[in-house]
């Protein structure tokens, strides 16, 4: 296999595996965050609003890592095209 095809293949595989790992990890961690937030809301319904806001802010910050992964993979595969 010539080096250019090899680089493309490696990039595609790396991209796929990267997105897979980041998305699965993110989903698990975000699910745990929602679980803990809901438990807190059950325990103290009067601060439910505050908990909801903190939950949303926390999830948006967690999302950032997945966004970084998407950006890097997109750049990688985009630059391959030429």
């Amino acid at each position: 296999m010539e080096s250019e095809t090899l680089i493309t293949v490696v990039a595609i595989i790396t991209g796929g595996v990267g997105i897979l790992i980041s998305t699965v990890t993110l989903a698990i961690v975000e699910g745990r965050a929602v679980l803990k937030a809901l438990e807190g809301m059950v325990r103290q319904p009067e601060i439910a609003n505050r908990l909801f806001t903190s939950l949303i802010v926390g999830m948006a910050l967690l999302e950032t890592s997945a966004i970084y992964t998407i950006l890097v993979i997109t750049l990688l595969l985009g630059l391959l095209g030429g």
């Binding site: 949303i56 802010v57 948006a60 999302e63 950032t64 966004i67 970084y68 998407i70 950006l71 997109t74």
Partner: protein, 215 residues
């Protein structure tokens, strides 16, 4: 990626004016005309919006929102309108350009320093940044690096969210044309408003850390 990237429209004195820049000009007109109309037709709606922003910011900063409300409110309205205005035919989403989000993040960085110096004077602000004073020469560069990285994270977070929605809508509308992109466009708009909220909350937290009364 090429169709979603900003396209240059013309040049002014060697600076290329892209479609995203023209979108921000159109956005300025839309927001100003919109605010005048809303003020004339539904003034209570405007009061609720400003009240919501004021409540959120003072909640996050643990202090009255007043000196910071103009800047943070303008930031919130700019980013929220920018992320939503992409559905209008001629206009593109300004925040899909890394330059726009980087500019917004740089204004947050400058605002932190401006508000800090205004509140505490130059030396007081520097002392706040280098928190435990004994390790001054270690903490100050560490804090500066931290500030640069969180500015970068602000820019990349907003850019990444917007560009990934745009890319998905682009790819799906290639495959399925008419109806299928609509829920994805709605999701993109929701994500856009949410990211505006996050951006402003983070900016408020950073400014709050700089003007906080320690001790």
């Amino acid at each position: 990626m090429e169709r979603v990237a900003p396209q240059e429209v013309f040049q002014v004195l060697g600076i290329s004016i892209t479609d995203t820049v023209i979108s921000t000009w159109i956005m300025m007109v839309v927001v100003i005309v919109g605010i005048i109309l809303i003020r004339w037709l539904f003034p209570s709606l405007l009061e609720r919006l400003v009240g919501f922003l004021r409540a959120t910011i003072s909640d996050v900063m643990d202090r009255p929102a007043e000196p910071y409300l103009p800047y943070l409110g303008a930031l919130a309205i700019f980013i929220a309108v920018a992320n939503v205005i992409g559905v209008v035919p001629v206009v593109t989403t300004p925040t899909k350009d890394l330059n726009t989000t980087a500019a917004l993040a740089i204004t947050v960085f400058l605002a932190v320093h401006v508000f800090g110096i205004r509140k505490k004077g130059v030396w007081g602000h520097v002392k706040t940044m280098a928190a435990p004073l004994g390790l001054f020469f270690l903490m100050l560069p560490l804090d500066v690096v931290g500030q640069l990285s969180r500015t970068l994270a602000l820019a990349l977070r907003l850019y990444g969210n917007v560009i990934s929605s745009e890319l998905i809508v682009d790819v799906v509308s290639d495959i399925l044309s008419f109806i299928a992109p609509l829920p994805l466009i709605a999701l993109g708009m929701f994500t856009g408003v949410l990211q505006a909220y996050i951006f402003v909350i983070l900016a408020a937290v950073f400014i709050g850390m700089a003007v906080r009364k320690d001790e």
